[in-house]
C-alpha cells in the first residue's frame, strides 16, 4: 500500500469527483498496460502514470477501480460504458481489484498474482528504469516448480528455484545459493512472478554485473508446524498431508521466523544441497527477504550466525551493532549486510529508529554494509525489484 497516495487521495476521493475532475487535465497518451491479458485494451496508463479503466456493464449501478487504498468511481455513459481515471500511481507493480455493485472481484482484463492474501489483479506501471526487468534475447536461466517433503511440517511443500542459464550445460560447476523470501499476504509465487527474479538475474548475468547463483523462493507461511488449524483456513475434509491442487493451499498462518527458520534449516537447505550443484558452505549461502521476509531474514540469520554470510533485508528492518553483539560469530562470518527501503516509506521510520544510519552503524564495528533507498517508491514491489537488482551485484563477490 502506498501510504502517501492514500493520504493525499482520500480527501479527493471522498468527494467522488476525481474521475471527472482529472479528465479535464489528463494527458491523452494512454497505452494498454503490459499486465493486461492478451488482447485487452484496458486498463491503460499514460505518461503521468494515471490509470484509465473501462468496462461495458449497462445493468450495473456502480463500478469502482480499487487501487492503492482508494476506490475510484467510474462514470457510466449512455451506452452503459463505465470509464474513469485514478490518481498517478507509483512506478512498478501494484495489486488492485474492481468493485461491481458492492462486490469486489478480479478485473477480467488483467493477469493474476498472489498478494494481499489472495489471487487477484495486478498492474504494471511503466518505470524509467524498467529495462532491468524486461525479457530480452539473452541466455535465460529457468525457474523450476519444486515439490518436496518437509519433516518439520509433515507435508509436501512447494517452492520455486531459479538456476542460471549456464547451469544446464556447465555440468560440473557448483553454485552459491540465495534463499529469498516474500512478504506478509504473499507466497512463493511473489518473487517468481511479480518480483521478476529470473528475468532480473538473466539480465544481470548477461551483462556481467552479477555472479551466476541459484535462488530458492519458498513459502514463509504455509503448511508449517502441527498447530491447530484456524477455522476456515483449509477446505473441510481436505487431507492435511498434501497440497490440494497444482497450486497448494496454505495452512496455518505462522508469521514466526522460528517455524519457517526450522523448516529452512532442517528441510529446505538440505533438499537444495542434495539435489542441486551447490557450494554448501556459509560463504556461498545468502538469505534475503522483503517486509515480513526481511524480518524473518533478520531473525533467522542472527539465530544461525555462522550459516549465512550474506544478509539482505528489503523494507524489513535492520540489523544493529547490538544485534551483532548478541549473535556470536555473526560479525566474523557475515561478508555483507544489505538493507533497503522505498523512499516514501523511510520518511516514516519504523520501530522508532531511523534505518538510514544502519549501514554506517555496522561499518563502525568493522562490517561491510549497504543501505539502499529506492527512489519515489513506497512499501511495494518496485522497491523490492530494485533491492534485488542492487543486492545481486554485491552477492558472492
Amino acid at each position: 500500500m502506498k501510504m502517501n497516495n492514500f493520504r493525499s487521495m482520500l480527501a479527493v476521493a471522498a468527494f467522488g469527483f476525481l474521475s471527472v475532475a482529472a479528465s479535464a487535465q489528463v494527458k491523452e497518451d494512454f497505452k494498454p498496460c503490459t499486465s493486461n491479458q492478451d488482447g485487452k485494451q484496458y486498463p491503460m496508463v499514460n505518461s503521468d502514470r494515471v490509470v484509465r479503466a473501462q468496462y461495458l456493464a449497462p445493468d450495473a449501478k456502480s463500478v469502482k477501480f480499487d487501487i492503492g487504498g482508494v476506490k475510484y468511481e467510474l462514470v457510466k455513459d449512455e451506452n452503459g460504458l463505465w470509464t474513469g481515471e485514478t490518481a498517478p500511481q507509483d512506478e512498478g507493480f501494484h495489486y488492485y481489484q474492481i468493485n461491481v455493485d458492492g462486490i469486489s472481484v478480479p478485473d477480467p482484463n488483467s493477469l493474476y498474482f498472489y498478494g494481499a492474501s489472495r489471487w487477484g489483479s495486478g498492474i504494471e506501471i511503466p518505470a524509467a528504469d524498467e529495462d532491468f526487468y524486461q525479457v530480452k534475447n539473452v541466455p535465460h536461466g529457468e525457474t523450476s516448480e519444486v515439490y518436496y517433503y518437509s519433516t518439520v511440517s509433515g507435508t509436501v511443500r512447494h517452492c520455486f528455484i531459479y538456476t542460471p542459464a549456464e547451469y544446464r550445460t556447465n555440468t560440473t560447476k557448483k553454485y552459491p545459493v540465495l534463499y529469498l523470501q516474500h512478504g506478509m499476504g504473499e507466497n512463493e509465487y511473489g518473487w517468481a512472478q511479480q518480483g521478476r527474479t529470473g528475468i532480473i538475474m538473466d539480465n544481470l548475468i548477461a551483462a556481467g554485473k552479477a555472479e551466476p547463483f541459484i535462488i530458492v523462493m519458498d513459502n514463509g507461511l504455509a503448511n508449517l508446524g502441527q498447530q491447530p488449524r484456524p477455522q476456515g483456513q483449509r477446505p473441510q475434509g481436505a487431507p492435511q498431508a498434501a497440497p490440494q491442487g497444482q497450486r497448494p493451499q496454505g495452512g496455518p498462518r505462522l508469521n514466526s521466523a522460528g517455524a519457517f527458520g526450522d523448516c529452512l534449516i532442517k528441510d529446505i537447505i538440505p533438499m537444495v544441497e542434495a539435489n542441486y550443484r551447490v557450494i554448501a558452505d556459509s560463504e556461498h549461502r545468502a538469505m534475503a527477504g522483503l517486509s515480513m521476509g526481511g524480518m524473518q531474514t533478520r531473525a533467522i540469520t542472527l539465530a544461525n550466525p555462522t550459516t549465512f554470510s550474506w544478509v539482505g533485508m528489503f523494507s524489513g528492518g535492520v540489523i544493529s551493532p547490538e544485534d551483532v553483539a548478541g549473535a556470536a560469530g555473526f560479525k566474523e562470518n557475515v561478508k555483507h549486510v544489505f538493507m533497503s527501503y522505498g523512499s516514501r516509506e523511510i520518511e516514516r521510520p519504523r520501530n522508532g529508529s531511523d534505518p538510514r544510519t544502519s549501514a554506517d552503524d555496522l561499518k563502525k564495528i568493522g562490517m561491510n554494509a549497504t543501505f539502499y533507498v529506492s527512489p519515489e517508491t513506497a512499501h511495494e514491489w518496485q522497491s523490492w525489484r530494485r533491492s534485488l537488482y542492487q543486492f545481486a551485484q554485491i552477492l558472492f563477490k
Copy 2:
C-alpha cells in the same frame, strides 16, 4: 464444453427455477472445492457433483454462476446473500466465471487458469479415479519455466519443461522426450497447471508404471511467424521482440500446424536437445496433444514421418491407414499411435468418421495402436488427464 450437460440443462435453466427446484432434493454433503483460494468455503461440491455457490452482494440485482455453457441464477436472501446450485458436473476440471449485474468476471474465490482464451476461474469436481493426479509424498520431478529465442518467430518464447525426480541426481543418464501440446484457447500453462502433468508423472514413475522421461509443454499459438498482427492482440507500443511480462502475452493466433511445426522442428527440439540430457533420436521422441494440439500432432508427425516414433492424439482426430500410406517412413518408424476421446464426445463422431475403429484399422496394416475412451467425460480436461495417464504407460517401452 460438455454438450450433454448443455443440452439437458438448457430447458431447465430457461425457466430460471433450477436453483430453487434443485434445493429441494440436493444432498447436503457439500465440501469446499479444492480449487478454491486458501480459506474460501465457496464454491462447494456435493457427492452428486452439484456445485453450490454463494456470494454476499446486497447491492447487486443479479448474480449468475456460468459453467458448462449454462448461466445458473443465484437467489438473494434478506441479508443480500446470493446462493444457488448447478446441475451435476462431470468429474474433473472445468472453466467457469460469474456474472454480476451483466458483467462477467472471475470468481474471487477460485484459483485461476488459462483457457477459453482468458485467465479466469477453474473448478475441480471430485473424481472416483482422482488419486492418479493428487500430490503425494513420492519423489518429485520439477516443472521448469523456460525462456528461449525462436529463430522462426524472431521472439523470445516461453515453455514449461518437466524433468523426472531422478534427473537432478542421476547426472549421466539421458532421457526420452515427449512434446505435449494444449488445445485451442489454451496456452503452455494448460498441461503444467490444470493438466497436472508433473504430478501424474511423479505418481506413475514412483509406482513403476512409466519410464522416466522429459515433457516439453510449449505454446502452439502465440508469437509465431511474422504475419501482420491482428488489431488488439497486443498492447500498442509494446515491442514485438519480447513477451510483455512474466507471463508473456500471446501474439497472432496461428492455428496452423505449419507455423508451430516449423518452430517445433527448428527451435524447440534443438533447444531441448542442446540443454537437457536427451536421447536425441526418433525412437526416444514423442509428440502428443489435446484437441487442436492433437490435430497439430497428427499434421506434424505425418509431415515429419521419421522424427517421432510415438504419437498421441487426445480428442483431436485420428490417423488412418490412408494417412500412413501418404507419409513415407511413418509406418516403419512409429512404435505406437495412441488415440482417445471422452465417452460423451465420441457419441458425436467428428469429421464424419467414427474414431472407435481407428486403432483396429492401424493394427490391420501392422502398426501398434491404442484407442482409449475416458468414461463419462466430454471434451474436457478429465479426458486429457486420463489420456496422458494411459499414454505415459505405453511410451518408450
